[in-house]
Symmetry: none
Subunit: 196 residues, 4 copies
């Protein structure tokens, strides 16, 4: 009554369990690329297709739409944490890493811009949690008396800059982000990913 596995068709190769880790990584990568362009509100099937796996694989690794988004954003957040924890981290440098991610990924913008609510993805706990990790990382390297030292100002400023990041090219987005930071009187840079 239920499933017809189309008995006589041949299936295009089961690459075996070895592929599991690779598939997971491929999914995260595919999701990141697609999110960067289209935001979080994309058909999951598109992610699976781009990763070159079946729909089921996506669901196996990530039980819901939220899970894959978390996996992607989590990597962004981790880089910021690493940048903040590194030797000689400066506010300007860490904010530069953060800004780099903002200019890379519409998804990450969405996360910080507001509450993470976006189209099909309802605002959920994960957004708050990731957002708080970013906040902790940033605050940890803020010196006494920093321009954004007041409790609420830090993430407010981040949200504001996120709101300003638009434009078709990375260059343009970075330009606007820096202009926004300047308008806030905050020194930021260089804008680049964190590299151990």
């Amino acid at each position: 009554m239920t499933q017809h596995p189309t008995s006589e068709e041949r299936r295009p190769a089961n690459r075996g369990p070895k592929a599991a880790a690779g598939n997971r990584a491929a999914l995260v990568t595919a999701a990141r690329e697609i999110y960067a362009v289209h935001g979080l509100d994309v058909p999951l099937s598109r992610i699976a297709r781009r990763a070159g796996v079946g729909q089921g694989v996506l669901y196996r690794h990530f039980p819901d739409r939220e899970a894959i988004a978390v996996a992607v954003l989590e990597e962004n957040v981790r880089q910021i944490e690493q940048a903040a924890a590194a030797e000689g981290a400066t506010p300007a440098g860490v904010l530069g890493v953060l800004t780099w991610h903002l200019t890379q990924s519409a998804a990450f913008i969405g996360l910080l811009h507001a509450d993470g609510a976006s189209g099909r993805l309802p605002a959920h706990a994960f957004a708050r949690e990731l957002s708080e990790r970013v906040e902790r990382a940033l605050r940890g390297c803020l010196p006494e008396g920093h321009r954004l030292g007041a409790p609420d100002d830090l993430m407010l400023a981040v949200a504001m800059v996120s709101g300003a990041v638009t434009g078709p090219t990375h260059r343009e987005r970075a330009h606007r982000a820096l202009a926004a930071w300047r308008l806030l009187g905050v020194t930021v840079g260089p804008v680049r990913p964190f590299e151990g």
Copy 2:
């Protein structure tokens, strides 16, 4: 904001051809109310239902999803224009009106926040056009040497504040918006709609 007793499930009988203008208005009102709560990414059928008209009417007045959004946002923009054109308009006052609209409407936020792209609605020319009308209106009442007087700073600041506007209640959103303006060193207020 509400001129029709649209209780979401109303279904009056065919009101005849005379209702054409009224239907248009009802659709815009319904769309505004729904957009305010749910953002631009809602089923069109819901707007028609709330307006108490058939789906066909919506398509007659607004050929596509974009058109109805424009009609709604256009009213917001017009109010800002009126506020800017009024006797004794001050930057603080006009920005207060703008801020009020930001706190009212998720749709309006989207318009100014970035490029207007949101869920099913691709970024389109109308966003730029409306955005430019807002810019002209604001700049028109900016005195020499205003904090945001530099060419690019004005709309950048607006986008930044838009990015900061979040929260479940109007009160909370207004609070964050004002905090954002303060962080930018811009005086704004009172936050209220424009009334002739």
Copy 3:
């Protein structure tokens, strides 16, 4: 981002609102026929296909799986009620009508057999309600001192007979049903639909 109406394809004719009533009837008929053979646990798409309508039409008329089942079973129940309310209704005659429906429809069997729970269709209020309507109809024409006059015996007996109704052909099912009634010491017949 969402819907692609395959712009350039032509659609196979919208027969217009006139078709509404006809479509509804066609759906109920299709569902009845399919239910009779396969039980309640069939893909809804199959019903729509058999009725010659799109999936959407089915969902318009019947918001969920339960609704279409109710519509089908309701007709069975109504016939029994009519039979019970008719001039000169006898227990044997009314039970004959009931038995006829049992032998026609696997769905109806499921309703009376137990609690209506069946595969994808969870046991729901509607089953109980319809079942009670059958009970009221039957009880209303039971004379004093009938073999099944005791409060719980009536529907218990019906459930028992339902359990006995099996077989590939109508003839065979009717035969088993009558044998079951006989084993219970209840006179039933003739087995036939009610005709005003």
Copy 4:
């Protein structure tokens, strides 16, 4: 009924090839428990998970959905056969054992109720075969002139009682089953599993 601490989410490590027999038993046990609650229409993956084995193991031992169902029901049937073959078996006693199984297992109900067709499981030969074993066992201990002595009456009565067995609790199901037997004028009891 339970010999494995199958707490539904257990996932032990690979227990090695020696576990083959144990795995088979665990699968049957898991299937029985799940069938009892949810009927035959459950995902096979759930059975494997509960048994604490991989899906492949299930397919190794039971080539298709039918096979695992047969294995489960077969144990029920065997108990009835044993009860019937025991010293001093009485019709009432054996029917009591049969009734106990009816009240335990939705699956067993389905077997005897009709033709074994249920949701994803098409009616198949195995149902008939198991059903016949039950019949032989019962008939073997029926004395001359028993109420159900006529050739067709015995299994008809069993089917009828199966049809009456419903309800959320074992107690309720047993109550209804006994009421059904009483309505048939057959003495049955006690309702309990067979113990050597």
